[in-house]
């Protein structure tokens, strides 16, 4: 099977998949971990433990009664040494549980394979597992897998595009845990009664495509499709278009066009959880960038500090100027390495001075490269102007809210305009002023 459509716009970024060939290394348990009460889109959890409590691997330490949320588990065994406030990039202060590890990883007795016979039991198990979308957005999986009755789901799409440069964590999952990927898919198909499954993989990962197709071969319902590499193919709306030709309406969700999209590591985790009952407490990350001594894929306890992870990778070769959580196109720049790693993180990148400096903005020359690059067919250069002039009417007219902030426009801009930044500002303007 071939890809249905070529996505609109997009940019050809360098791939830098330096770590693709490296087998995942398991990082020893750190002395302490810090687990914030928010790893997902939705309501933060409330701590269910207090300072001094003994916890074990897999013990629930935070939960919420809100629907769009997911429980949080301890990733080590040890003692809660502190509950502090952690500043998140959006400015919110979130409770964060610091656990001093006893180094033993004693498993909580509650951790045992769930009994799953019905869809309801399956969704409950997914919630209990603490799974959130591991592609980066962190949307609670049990919410995504539970569309309203009137939405008929025809396609389950598995996102293994991994279009962000550097990152190879999902790729390693497809190589190292191929059988889990396929059995996870089968479980979701069975309980949600979905007929068709397409795994989307960019053509720079031929091994992945081959392995998954070989395993899935016995079952004609699952196919791995090679996608022509282009950024941002792994963005949900783009992937749906590339694989099915369907267009998610603005403001709509994949289920509006009969589709559920799941990250490949997420679906693989479901298979693992149903077998072992071990909730989401570990994660594979790609650690790379010019100043990392030993670029690797590392399997870590969630809540490990960035600095401990980097130390495990041999530390820095020279002074870092930028630390990213995530890929270079959409990742978040960190102000410190004293930051815990969250469930949905998939990469830590450290850049040297040359890579880190923000180029100076010059005047727009109206070359139109941003317009051609935009996968949402927006006009970033116009949005830049309207954001600058705070023209809410025009921002709305030019569909600022449709922007997925993929960064393709800023990437291609020869004048080095900070287009995404301007558009983000524009979105806030529409939100705040639009309510008046």
């Amino acid at each position: 099977m071939k890809q249905k459509k070529r996505i609109k716009g997009g940019v050809k970024t360098p791939h830098y998949k330096n770590t693709a060939k490296f087998e995942t290394r398991v990082m020893p348990v750190p002395e302490k971990v810090e687990i914030p009460m928010l790893h997902h889109i939705g309501a933060p959890c409330m701590p269910t433990v207090k300072k001094g409590d003994e916890v074990m691997l897999g013990t629930i330490i935070g939960d919420s009664d809100k629907f769009v949320s997911a429980p949080i588990h301890s990733s080590v065994s040890g003692t809660v040494s502190e509950i502090k406030k952690r500043m998140f990039p959006n400015g919110a202060a979130i409770d964060s549980i610091v656990i001093k590890s006893d180094g033993k990883l004693t498993i909580d007795p509650s951790v045992k394979p769930p009994i799953v016979n019905t869809k309801e039991e399956f969704l409950k198990a997914v919630r209990n597992s603490g799974l959130v979308g591991l592609g980066g957005a962190g949307f609670p999986a049990h919410v995504k897998l539970n569309p309203p009755k009137d939405k008929k789901i025809e396609y389950l799409l598995i996102n293994a595009a991994e279009c962000e440069p550097y990152i190879t964590a999902d790729y390693r999952e497809t190589i190292e845990n191929s059988w889990n990927v396929i059995s996870g898919i089968n479980v979701v198909m069975e309980f949600l009664e979905i007929e068709n499954v397409i795994i989307g993989i960019e053509d720079n990962k031929p091994t992945s495509i081959k392995i998954l197709n070989d395993i899935a071969d016995s079952d004609k319902k699952i196919t791995a499709v090679s996608l022509k590499s282009i950024y941002p193919q792994g963005a949900e709306k783009m992937l749906i278009y590339a694989l099915t030709g369907r267009v998610v309406p603005a403001g709509g969700l994949p289920m509006d066009v009969g589709v559920i999209v799941m990250n490949v590591t997420s679906v693989s985790f479901i298979a693992k959880y149903l077998k072992t009952g071990m909730p989401l407490v570990r994660k594979r990350l790609t650690v790379d960038g010019a100043v990392i001594k030993e670029p690797s894929n590392v399997d870590i306890c969630i809540g490990t500090y960035i600095k401990d992870l980097i130390d495990f990778c041999g530390g820095f070769t020279e002074e870092p100027y930028k630390i990213l959580m995530g890929g270079p196109m959409m990742g978040l720049a960190q102000y410190t390495t004293d930051m815990p790693i969250l469930k949905q993180n998939n990469a830590i990148l450290a850049f040297n001075k040359k890579q880190s400096m923000v180029p100076e903005q010059t005047a727009c020359i109206r070359c139109g490269n941003c317009v051609r690059a935009c996968p949402m067919a927006l006009m970033p250069q116009q949005l830049d102007i309207f954001s600058e002039s705070q023209d809410v009417e025009q921002l709305k007219k030019y569909n600022v809210e449709s922007c997925i902030e993929c960064g393709a426009c800023s990437y291609v801009c020869p004048a080095k305009r900070h287009l995404v930044q301007a558009i983000k500002k524009g979105k806030i303007l529409v939100k705040t002023k639009g309510q008046k």
């Binding site: 270079p328 720049a333 960190q334 390495t337 850049f351 180029p359 949402m376 116009q382 995404v420």
Partner: protein
């Protein structure tokens, strides 16, 4: 580790290597064949005109920024491009040397910098300057000479055909004809065009729509389409001046409309106007319509739901 020195900024954290100056450099490279052939056909006078035009363009931009206490912008090479293109629009005679300097002043200071500098000008600087010079110094701007070192007066192919004299295709193609420095040789301009397309500096839309409309118009009115494509300033205008980013529409739809408009006005002036040539006027006029075209060619965004207006 000195953590207080970590750079924090919004994504993306990667940029492509293209810059305004690298794009301008590509345009300069694309102009080199036309520059070489102009020197070949019209001798050293071409080199002097081009040198003066480039030097004064850069100088005026430098001085303007100095006087206006603005950040220096000559590094983006756009003034060099304007200088070369302006020179290619002048006749290969001695008077063009001082005309080039006057033209640079008009192009850079009045048409570009006073409107806010690069990216803000409404009209293409070289085109506006050429039109200004044509109107102000009509005699000097139409003192065409035949190729060669002796400066024998001649007329351009477009003027000749109005008197019923047809110029051969081969001469038109190579540039062995009377005309301004850069508009004589079709082959040099086409080589430049291929470079610009390969380097993705321009897209095919404007040149194709512009040239296609002129050819079609000529055909409809019983004239030789190929002659109209090769003669006059059409190729120079369609490839290098109508495609100026700042003064042309952004979307491909807009570009097609813009190119079509340019072509329509050009062939209209050539066939029915008093002037033999209309490329500059057509581009200048269409430049003024760009904001309007842009407004009506906003693409439908991906997944856009029809709004109840």
């Amino acid at each position: 580790m000195t953590e207080n020195r970590l750079v924090v900024n919004p994504s993306p954290h990667m940029k492509c290597i293209k810059s305004t100056s690298s794009i301008m450099l590509d345009v300069i490279i694309a102009l080199i064949p036309a520059v070489i052939l102009s020197v070949y056909f019209f001798s050293y006078i071409s080199a002097i005109i081009i040198a003066v035009s480039v030097a004064t363009s850069v100088l005026f931009e430098y001085l303007y920024n100095l006087a206006a206490k603005k950040k220096q912008t000559i590094g983006n090479l756009s003034a060099v491009v304007t200088g070369v293109i302006l020179a290619l629009n002048l006749p290969p005679v001695k008077s063009s040397i001082w005309i080039a300097a006057v033209g640079s002043l008009i192009a850079i200071v009045i048409v570009k910098m006073l409107f806010g500098g690069i990216g803000k000008n409404i009209f293409n600087p070289a085109i506006a300057a050429r039109v200004f010079l044509t109107v102000s110094f009509a005699a000097q701007m139409t003192s065409w000479v035949a190729p060669g070192i002796d400066s024998v007066s001649t007329a351009t192919p477009l003027a000749l055909i109005q008197r019923g004299v047809q110029t051969g295709y081969l001469d038109l193609f190579l540039g062995n004809i009377g005309g301004s420095l850069g508009e004589t040789s079709a082959v040099a301009l086409l080589v430049g065009c291929i470079w610009l397309l390969l380097r993705k500096v321009i897209t095919w839309h404007i040149p194709a729509a512009f040239i296609g409309t002129v050819a079609l118009g000529a055909f409809i009115f019983g004239q030789d389409p190929l002659f109209h494509v090769l003669a006059g300033g059409l190729l120079l205008g369609a490839i290098f001046m109508a495609t100026d980013y700042v003064t042309s529409p952004i979307t491909w739809k807009g570009k097609l409309i813009f190119g079509f408009g340019c072509g329509l006005i050009t062939i209209g002036i050539r066939l029915f106007g008093n002037l033999p040539e209309g490329v500059s006027f057509s581009i200048l006029f269409m430049n003024a319509l760009v904001p309007l075209i842009d407004r009506y060619t906003v693409p439908k965004s991906f997944g856009e739901v029809k709004k109840n207006a």
